[in-house]
Symmetry: D2
Subunit: 436 residues, 4 copies
């Protein structure tokens, strides 16, 4: 976890305090269920909750000090709770194994993290939609291979991003369901010493599904799918970030990350405004992707479990969720305040002297009865002049001055082929598909 | 693609012939839709389908020869088709761009590949279920950290695998939906020269969804999610493969990959039977996982597309699907014919002289009124003798010979604590959860 | 292996014929050493080499047919050789294990592949050097964050690439040494049935080092290092490819991949010239990088070996080397024929009206006795006008028209600060460092 | 960075204090060189060093507070230093760019980290050597595929690990050289405003090489190679960790991680001793490997630099080095104190009733004049009895009771073939190769 790439709500999920609180809730709910089943006295559960209602502070240092002696984190925690609650606490954890607490806690944490990530996506979607509507018909050049192709609108670019992050939202919802399961099934998952009804009770109270069959642990294919999904979301972040970086290049400059009025780009070079936020997002995406493979390698635990996954998850569970949360929020801010320059978009689109309409003129000539070969030749000989002038000449004007062309097409007909509207007649259709 | 790790049905999807056939169908369906819209003559579509009904062979070499000249694969294909069909073929591809054909074709191929993979999983699930039912109550030791913990059944191990691959099936179905979309939207996705109804028609005919908003290409977050899912499935394969490899170790030998009666393990060492199939699966899983990151890196294409994804997909689309298909089938064969040795399972479980029941005796003494401290001491002093004898002594017998123990527990009571059935009382519950 | 991304020399290394030939040489050299030690008759080695000198064709199908029966590739090969050579062949392979042959063969193949890759790098370096010298003083703008910063030369860009690929060469030489080892040490590496002198003889004959201690196999950390190195080289390829892609963007267009005179960029859009080769290289780099992780996962084989690495290597040994060879050659071709447009470079550098010199004027004013605060204000008020004019105004001219500026600096002094030569005074130094 | 997987010396390299101290040294050395060149007053350098000799505390909070205003970390640092040193400090950083400081600082940090890692390896090598010598002739079974093959010694296993980590040491030394370079070359690497002699001076003072050609930054192929090397070392750690985990399995139990006399394996299951340290190492290896791909993706920065690498390095530079340092130290501790059970090794080797010697008897019969076919049959009919008895019968005894065998071999001759020494005759040779 790198503090500068962290936001407080997500970070809070991964603090020792938060973890111990979830542990307590799991233990207290389980004790409650055991009491209902007559396995432990009802007073035990009551005592736990009575203490909990006092909203007690969690003394992490005290628990750590006990762990330094016992070398066992869950036992240390239980010991500390017993010191606070008193004699009734000895009925906690009956028939359970440490992994029941650890894995169910991780499920709660990842579910909460998912909720934040989904909310992040919702915020991003709202901003994307607003800016897409705003620029629904702002003309800009579509580029394939980095080369001018044919016109699109800036709103279409954002609509594509909206659709992509809508898919990411769906994937995150599925990823949340993958990991939001509860296992209270004992040392090797057989419920030998704990009734399955305890698991059902805890699951219901925590808003988790019951894990159908666990070993000592919840199977790690679930977590692998979760982190793989985060890697996909990160890749979509990178895509939009790279788009902004390209648009802000000096030679393109069709959009820019927001610069506050008094802000300095560089103390030495006053002309500089760098797309540092989206470059940063590009790097953060690499990190979130980098956590996918360790998560995949965590699946093949030996027999009913080995503990090799544990150290991996101590890194990637906080790091992947905190980083992705930060990245989504940063991207939302970038899009929200993105400075968009329609005039520059138009200027760039025009820089090739109207060559981007060459295909349409070609088709018009054909439809006017000129053979395809001749049509191609007529367009090309004018297009090449434009090309060689580096856009100083205008294709439209050259065509109008070419008698062979005007023999087939009137000036008005030529102008019609240079109409951007032709390219935008289905923007409504696409927007309706994307935004409903 | 490595031939020895390939099966014909999946490989067939990725041949040039298969690709060209899909291309033709896309073009013919599109021409049909264009004819319905009055853009091209109805005769054009009729001519295409009439030729197609002759079930013509695809002359890949001829198409390649044309490509060697035109340097463009789709144009080469269209040229060859025109040579076969005649004049009416000139109406094909009207208003479309090459990516419309290429990406929609890839969608068809990945959808077909998904269908095979899902069928593979179904076959694996059927075998897992059969073997799980067969060994539902076959006792075996549960191991955490590779160390004996408490008893499970061999059927429970397979039930866990069944549940895991059921999740994989769900994921594959979702992954199929991710990639099964059709885009016929023109050079930069604006439908400038092709009506969206053409796309809808082709999609319906090919069983694909319509891509809501494409650029020049179908967005690659879809494919990233697809290949990430394959990586998760591969990891689950590795998990079960590693389980078998462990069970076949000389010292464990609780199960073995099938050996035909006359088969030789080694010409030099007649005692050898190696788990080569599951070792092989472990390696294949690494490969399928290795394709995830390139797929994630393919997402951030520049603007409306760059073509960097294309070479990646020429490798990973065949390699990942062919390898995973082979691996699933191989795993199914391994489980189907797995030699299971319940006697050895029992023998291994017994090798520690009944120590695996120490916890239960401890609890029984406590419930019989002995203090927890004394109970622990009584069990431990007998357990240590067993431990030091390397399992030659029996905990049960030692306890019965310990007067302090028998003062609290009768021999019958002691025997009761060594009852395996205690651990299996919820096997039915778990099986019902898994198999319904 | 994707045929279109393969070149014949590298591909030839990985054919069955090539493999079998290396197997034969290993076996024949070993038999020779065994004969020298008196373990087998000298006639055995003589017979093998006598047959070999006839330059016999390797009948792969026949060997495969034997393997289909024996289920063992090395035994199948030995059987076939025995059929050709006759009775003396029965002394081959004495005391050896299959892995001795397989792993030593892989070492030979990877060493040969390294030699090709190193030659590829040499060719690339030669081209980089030539183009760097050619454009040693071709002015072009240096960009950080994609934004104009200060001037560099195009030759400096290529010198950087030269230095980077020189490092890659050094790494490849080290990677070759990592894998070029020979192991002829028997079933578990103890030389129980084969004298270490056999290994030494074979190693010397094949130009390999002796593996100091093998298990059944050569340890896979060597191969991991090899493939990791290939991943680094691929990343450097990507870097230069991305540079070219950026330079070819429509708005930048400072360089272009070569287009032959008659070549068409697009049948529909005659203005298009796409950097498809470097985009392709970007994708190929992803693939070569993707093979690194499987190679790393191959290291932790169980005990004296498990065979999980084998399937991985059947994919990545050919695929990584063939792809990298192709990519290096393609990159060499791109740089060799790269169309470079110095005029456009100058034009782009000028597009901001000389703002790139603002820092130098600031320093000159300061040195002329104006306070730093005043200097900054004077430069800034003129720079902002240039900025707002989108480069239509000239900073140089505005400064000369600003009385407060000219009070401190003469027109000649102002001109001096706009001298590009100032930035290039150390180009010789850098070139000397890089090219010696 | 996860505190529990961190050691203080390595962590100290990555603190803000450590970073600021290196920054100061770079700036002060540069100022010194500038003074020598007459660019700045000699008093400026003197003032800086005079202050530094007071061993001043670095007030990180104060610097952070300035950065919160300036939004620029290097400027914030320079401002704070100026506040401490006074007027002479204004000559610092003359002609330099922030990356000169940042990248050279990273080089110093990675070089220091490398030194710790190399020392870690040295400690591990010393322990491996000691334990290898100790068990040079401790017989244990060699296993391929997890199945008994032929005898090795436990010392040979450790010698192999020694050789592997010796290679890792060589690789780390090379990786250190990759990253230990200094760049003081200005905004785009042209030395426009700073003389190359400044760079040479700083490099010499800091023990770094001069970067031959930098852009705005030191090229990231260097760092990619560094982190890739760390990934290889991590994989070798995993290999040895997995070996220990296998040896500690209940059924094998040939070695164990150290357990202190009073330690409890489990409060509930007193028979448990889990290989938790080596399982942990397995997970840590996954993490260090996971950082390789982001480092590779960092290479292809845009033009003279973009800043996407920066966030990646904020994670992986500390995390990869801290984790690997911890892992190497933990592995050293595991091997140092590893409990080795030669009796159990012998017992496991014997569990197959001497079948591991079947190959040698076969050869002896052949050499005694029995045909190979008859020899195979004679050995096999006795071997099968042993196999079916699960090792209860002894091959040696059965052979001696088989008249057809004893007709060819005397009892003494049979015994000779069961001599382990046969397998160990070249242990000295191998040890000499490895340890010199």
């Amino acid at each position: 976890m790198v503090p500068r790439y962290s936001r407080p709500d997500m970070t809070a999920i991964w603090t020792p305090e938060a973890r111990f609180k979830i542990w307590f809730e799991i233990e207290a709910h389980a004790t409650e269920a055991l009491a209902d089943l007559g396995v432990v006295p009802k007073e035990a559960a009551d005592a736990l909750w009575a203490w909990w209602r006092t909203n007690p502070a969690i003394d992490v240092d005290a628990i750590d000090a006990i762990e330094a002696v016992t070398k066992h984190d869950v036992i240390a925690f239980l010991t500390w709770v017993a010191e606070q609650v008193g004699d009734q606490a000895r009925f906690m954890h009956q028939g359970m194994t440490s992994s029941d607490v650890l894995d169910t806690c991780l499920a709660v944490q990842l579910a909460r993290a998912s909720d934040i990530l989904i909310a992040d996506i919702d915020a991003l979607l709202a901003v994307l939609r607003r800016r897409a509507e705003e620029h629904k018909l702002t003309p800009t050049i579509g580029r394939s291979h980095g080369i001018h192709a044919e016109p699109v609108t800036f709103g279409l670019k954002l609509a594509e991003a909206y659709a992509e992050f809508s898919r990411c939202r769906t994937r995150l919802v599925a990823a949340r369901a993958e990991v939001a399961t509860c296992a209270i099934s004992g040392a090797v998952g057989t419920f030998a010493n704990v009734d399955p009804r305890v698991e059902a009770h805890v699951a219901a109270k925590l808003g988790l599904a019951v894990e159908p069959v666990s070993t000592q642990v919840i199977p790690r294919d679930r977590h692998a799918m979760f982190f793989a999904t985060l890697g996909v979301v990160a890749s979509s972040i990178e895509r939009l970030a790279v788009e902004v970086r390209h648009l802000q290049r000096t030679e393109v400059l069709e959009a820019e990350e927001y610069f506050s009025p008094g802000q300095k780009g560089s103390s030495a070079m006053p002309h500089k405004r760098n797309p540092v936020l989206t470059e940063n997002l590009t790097g953060l995406a690499r990190m979130v992707r980098g956590y996918v493979t360790p998560a995949l390698e965590n699946v093949a635990l030996w027999h009913e479990r080995d503990i090799s996954h544990s150290s991996v998850e101590r890194y990637i569970a906080p790091d992947a969720t905190i980083t992705l949360d930060f990245a989504l929020a940063r991207l939302t801010g970038v899009i929200d305040k993105l400075l968009v320059y329609p005039e520059r978009m138009q200027k760039n689109m025009d820089r090739m002297g109207g060559l981007i309409h060459s295909q349409r003129v070609l088709l018009a000539l054909t439809q006017a009865g000129v053979s395809r070969e001749d049509s191609y030749r007529l367009v090309q000989r004018n297009a090449m002049k434009v090309w060689e002038s580096d856009g100083a000449l205008s294709l439209n004007e050259l065509l109008k001055a070419d008698a062979d062309v005007t023999a087939a097409l009137s000036p008005e007909a030529i102008d019609a082929e240079f109409d951007l509207g032709y390219h935008y007649k289905h923007v409504d259709t696409i927007f309706a598909r994307v935004f409903g």
